[in-house]
Structure formats: C-alpha cells, structure tokens
C-alpha cells in the first residue's frame, strides 16, 4: 500500500511541480484540488481571500531559501525583493496583512496540516499525507 501511495505522490509531483522544485500544499479542509496560476498569484498577493466554498484562505510563506525564491519567481512573478516591498507597502499603508512567515519547510508543513484554509508550498521531498496537494491547471 505504501508503494502505491508513494507512487501516486510521485506521479502527482510530476504534474504539480513548477520546474520540479516546489509543491503547493493545502490543509485537508480545502476543497480545491486544482487551481489556476492567476489564483495562486492573487492568493499570495492578498487579492484573493476566500476559497470557492467561501471559507477564508490562510496563505503562508517561507522566510527565505531556494524553494521560497523559486516559488515567488514562478508562481507570483516577483523577485524576493519585489515581494517584500509589495507587502511592506501594504503594512505601512494599512491596506493589507502579509502572509505568516516560517523559518523552514517543516514548520510550514506542520502549520498547513493543522490550520483550516491554509495554503503553502514545500519541496517535493517534504510532502506527507497530512496535507492536500493542489495541482495547477
């Protein structure tokens, strides 16, 4: 059974990875299994705040590292510096609250696993069955 699960996960990974270096994950409460690139970008820029069932989205990010930079470049279309500036502007003009940050992928994975509505990203080797994998369409 484990081999089947592992095989399924690896198969999914080959579908959902941007350039093979991160996977988008969500809490089990999230009904979506497919998401558009535009929606991913809007979620992490604070423009999309609810899932299709109306529940609140809780986006979380990493503080740094290759996975974080790759995610921003590929999914959010911004450099780390541009992304930081975007959210600093929101903070200091009162127009938004930035995503919660985590020091490492393990901490992010644990948070997403236990927090309803949460969405994040980790590298492929971090995935476990406590979270949903969200594919891009």
């Amino acid at each position: 059974v484990k081999k089947v699960i592992l095989g399924t996960v690896l198969l999914l990974m080959s579908v959902v990875c941007f350039a093979g270096d991160f996977i988008i994950i969500a809490n089990k409460s999230v009904g979506e299994s497919l998401i558009s690139k535009a929606d991913v970008k809007n979620i992490f820029l604070g423009k999309k705040s609810t899932w299709s069932d109306g529940s609140a989205i809780n986006a979380v990010i990493l503080k740094g590292g290759d996975v974080h930079i790759s995610f921003l470049k590929t999914a959010v279309k911004k450099s780390k510096s541009q992304f930081n500036t975007f959210w600093k502007k929101a903070i200091f003009t009162g127009t938004g609250t930035p995503p919660q940050k985590f020091d490492n992928e393990k901490a992010m994975l644990d948070y997403v696993a236990k927090t309803p509505g949460a969405i994040g990203y980790v590298s492929a080797n971090m995935i476990d069955d406590r979270v949903n994998i969200i594919k891009l369409n």
């Binding site: 535009a38 705040s49 510096s81 200091f92």
Partner: protein, 464 residues
C-alpha cells in the same frame, strides 16, 4: 524630534502594557525610521543651507493594525518627518481607518486613508518602498504633500479577476482633508490672499485658514499576466481659504453711482477715488479640478521600469461678496453693491513626466536611473486693464526660462543590508527651478537661483 520621542515612548509603554495583559493577540506592530543627508550645489534645495550639507531629512513611523475578523481590519500609523522646512518632526496621524472587505471585488475603508494616486502615492512616506531617496518630484512633490497624501472619508476598492488575462484593481474615495499651513500650496495661497487683502484692508493683520470639504477621486489599474501594469488615476480638490470678519477699507476707482440704488436707470458714470467700508469674511476658493495620471510599470525578474505622465490644473477664485456702502469723498452719494466677483484670480496648468528604471544584482544591490521633468504649461493671473477693470492676464510669456520647467536626471544605488536595513546614495543634475521649493527657503528670491544645479543624497533606513 523631542515631541516625537516623548509621544512614541508613551505609545511603546502603552503597547508593553497591553502586551503584558495579553490584549495584543493578532496585533501587528511595525515601524520604520530613516535618516538622510542632503548636499546641494549652486542652489539650496528643500533645506535652507543644503549647499553646506544638511541632515534635516528623516522619517519615523509607528504602525499598529489588527485583523478583528477575516473581513474586518483596523489600524493606524503615526508619522514624524523632517524635510528641511517641512514637517519639523511633529508627530501626526498619518492614517487610521477600518477596512471591511466584503468580497475580494468590493471592500470599504472608513477613516483617514492614503490617497490612491499613481504608482507610489500611498507609500510615498516609507523610504524602503522605493529604490531612490526621493520619488520623482514632478509627480510626488514633497512640498505639495499635504493635499496629496490622504483623505478623510470613505473609500471603496476591489480586485476583479480576468481569468488568465490578469486582473483589474480599482479604488474610489470621497471625503475631505486637513491641510498643513506650512505646505507650499498654503504658503502660495497666503501670499496671494494677503496681497489682495492688503489692498483692501491695509491696516489689519490678516488671518487666513483653509478647509477642503470636497476631495474625491478614483484609480483603476490593469495588472497583466505579462509582467506589467497600467493605470489611470485622478482626483478633484475643492477647498476654501477664508478669514474671519475683517473691516474692509480701500481707495478704489468707482465707475458710477446710482442716485437711487433701487433704480438702475439712475446710474451715472463717474471715476473718482472713494472710500469703501465693509465688515465681512473674505474667501478664496481653491480648486484642483484636474490632477490625473497615467501610469505604467514593468517588472521582470530583477528589473523594474516605471513611468508616469501627469496633468494638473490649479485655480484660485474669489468671490468678494460683501454688501458695502461706497461713499464719495464728499459723502454726497451712496453706492450699494452686494457682489463683486473676480472669476479667476489665478489659473495654472502643469505637465509632468518621469521614467525610472532599476535593476537589482547580487540580490542586495539595486542600481537606479531617473529622468524627471515638469513644465509650466499655462499661468494666468488677475490683472487690471487700462480702465482698471480686472481681467485674467496670460503671465506665461513673462516667466523666465529657468522658472517654467525643471528636469532632474538622477543616478542612485541602494544596498539592502538585510530585510530590515537599507542604505542609499544618489546624485541628481537639474536644469531649471520650477516648483523647486524656493518659497520654502525664507529670504531666497527665485531670480537669484541658478538654472543649472545639482544635489546629492544619502539615507539609511530601518524597518521592522
């Protein structure tokens, strides 16, 4: 700085108290502080004495915000700044509002909110949001900040997804505004009003205040999936400058008198110096019927290109509306008029344009270049014709070349030490002195300023 420090210490003590009592759950506490240095050549710029170098260039902000529910957020920011003659480190409430986001496509803001104008107006006071020390001054003029920076009222905003074609962001607002008497528009207005008042009431010290009860505008931006965004924004400003009741006494030329003020047929033309008396408030109407900007920003990986084109019209009208009794010198006749109106005392059109490019390399270094140009397109002012009748004269032909434009070419570098610290340095060469703050520099006449001049800036910023 003294008042600022005391105030912020009180705020920090309050925060500590609340924190100790577990009242700060989900409360975000952020802040920033920056200190700059300016050195100019040929002309002082912004700071009197900047030709010898000045460190009167700082900002200090403290921000609290709390997400009360998934849809409701509240917050405020205190700001203290010193830009030479502006700010002088008085702590002010920069913004404070409640944000109710009903849907992603429709939210509401109530309170004092940063004005959504162009690419950078909302974040103009936060140094680390931009690659350069100053934003392009043709569009984000520091001396005119008070009527650009924030509105008090209600705003609506939202983001409309366009599937794979990006999204539309919009903002609209309606409200009023507090104006800072030390800002340049107010100083210009005071000069204008006092000049007029001194001819009407030479023996009195006049006092003038200003309100803006009608300030509204909107912006819309298209965010493309192809690394660029383009937008249009505008606002309309209707303000009034006024004095309390003042006694009007003046020698004026009278064009005629009525033997019977109630009978127009009894009018007799005459031109003689007479005395006039009145006791009424004096009002000036200040309008910015057009301030509109077209904006474009392109961001690809570490490269950013931003450009904006701005048009602005400023009009100052007066409605000298006081029923005065005009007495001939011999007191032999009385002339009543209840309405003397000059349609326009002052009318000015500006056009501005800038291009700013920046490139980040080795993650921490950003090199920037700016071409920034502002030009006076029209300037009309009240004048008297040969018959002493008021008319709006075109003043543009008499404006010296150096006073009708300003072109600023700048080159700068930014070093992001880490997430919290930033260091910047830049050099600007400038041609022309239009709207170059000379009015802020007491005792400096524009005629004495050099057409070609330059300035250098450095700044260190910290944010948390």
């Amino acid at each position: 700085m003294k008042n600022t420090n005391i105030f912020l210490i009180i705020v920090l003590m309050l925060v500590s108290f609340l924190n100790a009592n577990s009242m700060l759950d989900n409360l975000r506490i952020n802040g920033f502080v920056s200190q700059g240095y300016i050195y100019s050549q040929e002309n002082d710029y912004l700071v009197k004495g900047s030709q010898g170098g000045s460190s009167e260039l700082n900002e200090l902000g403290f921000t609290l915000s709390k997400q009360l529910s998934p849809k409701l957020r509240v917050g405020f920011q205190l700001l203290s700044r010193d830009y030479g003659e502006l700010g002088n480190n008085e702590t002010k409430l920069d913004w404070a509002f409640a944000d109710y986001r009903w849907k992603d496509y429709l939210g509401f803001r109530f309170g004092k909110v940063k004005t959504p104008l162009g690419l950078y107006n909302e974040g103009r006071d936060v140094d680390m949001l931009r690659p350069t020390v100053f934003l392009p001054q043709s569009v984000y003029d520091e001396a005119y900040r008070s009527y650009l920076v924030a509105y008090q009222g209600v705003g609506l905003y939202g983001s409309l997804p366009l599937m794979d074609y990006g999204d539309l962001e919009y903002n609209g607002f309606l409200g009023n505004m507090n104006l800072d008497k030390e800002d340049l528009p107010m100083r210009d207005l005071l000069d204008l009003a006092n000049g007029l008042l001194s001819s009407l009431s030479p023996d009195q010290t006049t006092y003038i205040d200003m309100l803006c009860e009608d300030f509204h505008g909107a912006s819309i931006f298209y965010n493309s999936p192809y690394y660029f965004r383009v937008g249009y924004s505008f606002f309309n400003f209707n303000g009034n400058a006024y004095t309390p009741n003042i006694n009007i006494q003046s020698n004026i030329d009278l064009y005629g008198v009525f033997a019977d003020p109630t009978d127009p047929t009894t009018y007799t033309p005459i031109q003689a110096p007479i005395k006039s008396y009145g006791n009424k408030p004096f009002e000036l109407e200040v309008k910015i019927p057009n301030r509109r900007a077209i904006s474009f920003e392109f961001q690809y990986e570490n490269f950013t290109l931003a450009t904006e084109y701005l048009q602005e019209t400023l009009q100052v009208n007066t409605d000298i509306n006081f029923p005065v009794n005009y007495y001939l010198a011999a007191d032999s006749a009385i002339f009543n008029t209840d309405h003397v109106k000059f349609d326009e005392l002052y009318d000015r059109d500006d056009e501005a344009f800038y291009v700013m490019a920046s490139y980040t390399f080795f993650e921490k270094y950003t090199l920037s270049g700016i071409y920034d140009h502002i030009e006076l397109k029209k300037q009309k002012q009240l004048a008297l014709d040969a018959n002493n009748k008021p008319f709006l004269a075109d003043m543009l032909p008499s404006v010296p070349n150096k006073l009708d434009h300003r072109t600023d070419i700048g080159l700068g570098i930014k070093y992001d030490v880490n997430f919290n610290w930033t260091i910047k340095a830049e050099y600007h060469a400038v041609d022309g002195i239009y709207r170059a703050y000379s009015d802020l520099l007491e005792g400096v006449e524009e005629d004495t300023l050099e057409k070609d001049w330059s300035y250098m800036l450095t700044k260190v910023s910290f944010n948390f």
